[in-house]
Every structure is written in C-alpha cells, then in structure tokens.
Amino acid sequence: MSNSVTSRPAALANSRQRRPGAAAPSARRQPLSERLLGYGLIAPIVIVMAVVIVFPVVNAVVTSFQDQRVIGSPSDFVGFDTYAKILGDNAFWEALGRSGIWLVANMAVQTVLAFATALLLQRRGWWSRTARTWIVLPWVIPTVAVAVIWQWLLNSNYGIVHQLLGGIGIDIGSPFGDSAVAFFAVILVNSWHWFPLSAVVIYGALSTVPGEVLEAAKVDGAGAWRTFWAVTFPILAPVLFALGLVGSLWSFNVLDTIYLITGGGPVDSTTTMPVYVYDTAFSAFRSSQAAAASVLTVIVLAAAALLFVRFARPKED
C-alpha cells in the first residue's frame, strides 16, 4: 500500500532529474533535416497564431495611442491622451470593480457548486451514475439558449418561476430589471452555466485519490473533515490551481451571457469590463478608448494572474 504512494513522487523526481540531462545531448545530435522538419511542423500554427493573435494585439496597442472613433476611420497619434481619458472615466473604474466582484463571486459560487456536485457524484447509486451524464447539460447548452431560458423563466408575465413562487405568495420582482439584484442574478445564471465543467474536472481529480491513502487516514483515526483537508485537498490542489487560473480568466472575459440577458443594464449595473469595452467600441464608437481599456485590462489581468500563481501555486513537495 505504502509503495504505491511513495513510488509516484520518487518516479517524478527521477524523471525531473533525467529531463535536463537527457534533452541536451538529444538536441546536439539532432541533424538539420530533423530540425527543419520540426520547424515545418510547427510553422502552420505559428503563422496562424501570428495572424489571429499577435497582429490584433499589436493593432490594439497601436490604436490605443490614437484618437480613432469609428473603427477604420482616420486617426492621429495622441500618445497617452486616450489612456488619460480612460483613467479619468468613472465608468471604467466602476466596470473594473464590477469585473472584480464578478470574478470572485463566480469563482466562489462555481467552486462550491462544483465541489458539492463532484462529491455527490462520487457516491454509489443509480442516481449518481445518471447524474454523471446529465450534470453537464447546463454546460453544453449554448449561451444564447441559456439567456433565453432564464429570461423566460423569470419573466414577470409568463415566467414559470414567477408564477410558481407567486402561487405561494412570494414575489421575486424582476431579477434582471432591478439594478439592485440584476448583477447577482446574472452571476447565478453564469455560474449555473459553467459549474458543470468544474464539477467534472474535480470529479475526475477526486477519482485519482488513492483509496489506500484514504483507508490509511481512516485507520489513523482521521475524521471526514480532517481526511478531506489533510489528504484529499492536497492531492486535488494542482487541479484546483489550474482550474482556478484558467476559470478566472475565462470568467473575467464573459461578455455573451451578460450582453444577452441585460445588455449591461439596467443603468450599467451589470456592465463589467468586457461590456464596457464592447459598448465603448461599438455603441459609443470610440475605438481608441476601447483599445486603451483593453490594454489596461490585460495589464490588470496579467498582474492578477501572476499574483495568483505566486501565492496560490501548490507546493511541489
């Protein structure tokens, strides 16, 4: 039992020790033709990446230093003036703040839902086996359908949720039309849409926790809570770290769900940074300001990601 647990880190350590030493002589021995083949094989994706990522990014940065209004219209170089305008715009800071709340709230709600679901899926029983398939349903539904479904469900005239709760005397008002609750209503919808992905990943990671380790913890007298924190969670940590990093970036950039349900309203109460950038570019026709906001957002996101990696990366021992 103990062999199976200790052999994995040992093997990993061996492989880590081997890797640098093994790679160097191999590269030295590599003939030109093989290297050319390698370059040839990666050339298509490098070219595609350059066209679809590098060019738009460079173009956005260049545009952010201009005073372009409608996309494609003539513009002049204005240095940092556009950045100064953006940084002096209260709406920018409000949108950034909302994006922060959006990110944290989505991460919290989705993590709780995903963990609870994954733990339930681990249990034995026909309903658990069935749920393993159906739990992904919210995730596979297209976002536009998600938006329509929830708008219908919560519509005050014919929404079934409204009718059912109204039947027992509960008036939920208009979740998407009330600026006090619209933001959290959209967060819940987005979390409902995306939590199955996290649930499936966590469920997969949970299934890799060796039963022998759990049994050993039980034999040593650890309770369920202690076992979870001392055994299960550390094993899951790398998966949760990756999920947290990628999920946060995805979540921050969500535009479609918000735009389709509330359009950023009412009165900008659901305007996060992507909505702000979109509206600035395509409703206010201020391309350069939208580009500057995008560049600033990338900087903020990169800083947040670095901090996340710095402080949340699981220890490798």
Binding site: E34, I47, V70, S179, G263, G265, P266, V267, A281, F285
Partner: protein
C-alpha cells in the same frame, strides 16, 4: 534525411498555401457577377421572403445575380466597420437613416440620386421616406419600406372598463391607471437600454412638441420643457407597466399584450400578423389609435422612418446593377410581394403603393385594413430624430447608437431621477458624445 527536409519544405509551402487560401482572390469585377446584399430583418418569414425576392429577380436572368445575407442589428455596426476596413463590404446594405449616417462616416456609400429621382418620377416617393437620406444634394439610400408607431389596445379590455381609446396624454395616463388590475398592466412599455425604448419615447416627444432636439447649428437641445413633459409622462406610464419593464425591448411588450397581461402598448405594425393566433382573440379585439397628443401644445405624429438600401460597391458596373435590382423591387408587380415580407409592418413608400392589389389582398393587411390605413395616415405626420424638417445631423448615429433617450428613461425608472434631472443628464451625455 533528405526526404524529411523535402517533407518539411512541403509542409511549409502547404501551410502558406492554406493561409493564402484564407484570403480572397484579387478583386476582379469582370469575373464577379454577384451582388451581395446585407439586410437585418432576421425573423424567419422575412428572411424567406427576401430570399424569394432575390430568387425571383435572379430568374429574370440579370447580368449580376443577387445573393442575400442576413445580419443582426446589434452586430451590424461592428461588422460593417470591419468589412470596410478589409474592403469586403456588401454591394447593397439595408439601412435606416441614422445608421446610414454611421455607414457614411466610415467612408462607405455611393450616391443613388439617379435611382431615387427615377423612382420618384415613376411612382412618386413619399417625402418623409426619402428626405432623411438627402444630404449634400444627393440621396444616399433608396427608400424601400416605411414603419410607423401606433397605440395598440385590447378593445375587449377597454370596453369592459368603459374606456374610450385615449387621444390625449391625460387620457392615456388615466386609461393606463384604470386598466391596471392585479393580473393586468394598463400598458406595456419598454424601458431597457435599447432602440425600442428610444423609439416609443420619441413618439411621445413628437406628440408633445419635442420632435426636434437639435439647434440649427447641430448642437443638442434636448433639455426643454416639452422634453421634460414627455419624460415625465413616460415615467408615469411605467408605473402601470410590468415590473420587469427595465429589461424590455421589442418582443416583451408585444408578448405581454398578446398574452393579455397588458391592455395597451405603443409599437409598429408587427402587432398585426400574430395577434389572433397568439392572443386567441378575434382580430376585431385588436384596436389601434394614433399616438395620444399632449393636452397643451401637442401635435399629432409618431416616429416614422423608411428602411432604405445603400449601395456600397464602388465598382461602376455593380453600382448600376444594384440600382437595377432596387428599382425592380419597387416595380408594382414585385413591390406587393416585397412588402408582404412582414405584412402590416412594412408600409409602402410610394404614393400609389397603398393601392397595390398584391399587398392589399394579403390576409393580414386585409383583415386589419382599418389599422393599416390608420398607419398610412399616421406616416404622413411621422418624424425621426436627427432628420426633422429637412435636418441631417451627421452625428445622429453616435447618439442613437448609445441609446441616450432609453438611458434617460432608465435613470428615472431605476435610479429615481426626476424628469428634469433625466433630461439634463441626457442633454449632457449627448453633447459629450458628439463633441
């Protein structure tokens, strides 16, 4: 090893060719005998009808065939800008007047004065339909069909409450209040940040004498007593509208109206076709009336605008071919079928179009003939912001694109601003937008 090097070179060439294939071949109008048309009428019946018209035209064996592509109103601003940047714009683009100013602003659009003048001479184009496209002595779009708003009401509900169709603002407010019961809203109004809210509010601004909110110099002049009065009326009416009106656009008020959850609404002729089927009521229960007029200083009217077609191709042969196709659409033997793409909503823009047998015999148009005639009459006094009395405000696209009128409504409805504060706020926002 040599074979691997050859394979690598071949892969690189293949990648380059594949990427090259992504770009279009060099433009050669000599070989390109296709006219691409973008429109934004995305409902299935309209899509099918427009494609049928293109097919019918292509069957006449023209030198240039027409291909129809559907776009979304919410996306077309960005798509046409991107298309302009890449030089891949459509040859014909359907537009409304304020969108046309935007398209011209990004450097697209050819004058179609010859086509408009010829159609005017042949069939007589309604002034209100063509005027918003006139700038610098040239027409920039060929008007194709008009749209106008009316007050729609459930005749059975008004009769049950003993209420006559309201003709004035005070009557409208009183009716909305009287018709509001536990399960029914007196009126369903949009209050979302969208064009639907802009347009309904603007209809009330017109009948309140606030149609023109620009000075002669093109400066914004929204913060006037007339505008404040219209804002105040809208705020009052929203008290009798469903509670989630802040997220309403086009479809929600109509759904509330047809489901019996609301007794009145203000919108265009799209209410006609689905009413009987969706409401389960006899068509006679759908009532229509002109937009109620302010009790003092008001004037009859409604928002009215024509949807036109801009010619974007700068190839002379294609320009001419696009003009031929648009003229063909207006010909009496085709125009009725074209208007029937959305019977009741699409109104003729030619003076004799109202009598076209193809159009008049359509089931919806004939069933609701009284309302259709009322809409045609209302069209005569219709206005559109930015184009009142021969105006042509270049920056109106930037104002309508940001839905400042709708945002002002939200400031009142959601944030509790007074009508005076909302008018001042909208004035400031509009001024900033065009400065």
């Amino acid at each position: 090893m040599r074979s691997k090097a050859i394979m690598a070179a071949a892969l690189t060439v293949a990648a380059a060719l594949a990427l090259g294939a992504c770009s279009s071949p060099a433009a050669d109008s000599g070989d390109d005998k296709e006219i691409v048309l973008w429109h934004m009428e995305g409902t299935p019946n309209r899509v099918a009808a427009f494609e049928a018209m293109a097919d019918k035209y292509n069957e006449t064996d023209p030198e240039y065939t027409v291909t129809v592509q559907v776009q979304d109103w919410d996306q077309v601003y960005s798509k046409i800008a991107a298309a302009a940047q890449s030089g891949k714009q459509p040859d014909i683009l359907f537009a409304i007047p304020d969108f046309a100013t935007y398209v011209r602003g990004i450097g697209l659009g050819q004058p179609v004065t010859d086509v408009v003048d010829a159609l005017d001479e042949e069939y007589g184009l309604i002034d209100a339909a063509k005027a918003p496209y006139l700038d610098e002595d040239d027409y920039w779009a060929v008007p194709l069909y008009g749209m106008v708003q009316m007050l729609w009401y459930r005749a059975d509900m008004l009769a049950a409450a003993g209420i006559e169709p309201p003709q004035t603002w005070s009557e409208l407010r009183a009716a909305a209040e009287a018709l509001t019961t536990d399960g029914t809203s007196g009126i369903a109004l949009p209050a979302g940040k969208n064009l639907a809210t802009d347009q309904v509010l603007y209809s009330l601004m017109i009948t309140g004498g606030a149609a023109d909110f620009f000075t002669e110099d093109g400066e914004v002049n929204l913060d006037t007593p007339e505008t404040v009065a219209a804002f105040d009326l809208y705020k009052e009416l929203l008290k009798f509208s469903p509670t989630d009106s802040a997220s309403y656009a086009w479809g929600e008020p109509q759904a509330a109206f047809n489901s019996g959850a609301a007794a009145m609404s203000i919108e265009k002729g799209q209410y006609l076709a689905p009413f009987a089927e969706e409401s389960g009521q006899d068509p006679s229960q759908l009532g229509c009336a002109p937009i109620p007029v302010a009790d003092q200083g008001g004037e009859p009217g409604s928002i009215y605008y024509s949807n036109g077609a801009m010619v974007l191709s700068d190839d002379e042969a294609k320009e001419a071919a696009a003009g031929e196709f648009l003229s063909w659409l207006i010909e009496p033997e085709n125009y009725g079928d074209f208007l029937n793409a959305e019977p009741g909503l699409f109104l003729p823009v030619t003076t004799d179009g109202a009598n076209l047998e193809q159009w008049r015999s359509n089931e919806t148009v004939s069933t609701y003939a009284t309302c259709v005639d009322a809409m045609l009459e209302q069209s005569a006094s219709g206005e559109l912001f930015g184009f009142v009395d021969g105006q042509y405000i270049d920056s109106i696209g930037e104002i309508s694109g940001q839905n400042f009128l709708a945002q002002a409504i939200q400031q009142m409805y959601v944030n509790g601003m007074s009508a005076e504060e909302a008018a001042a706020w909208a004035q400031e926002q509009m001024q900033m937008a065009i400065s």
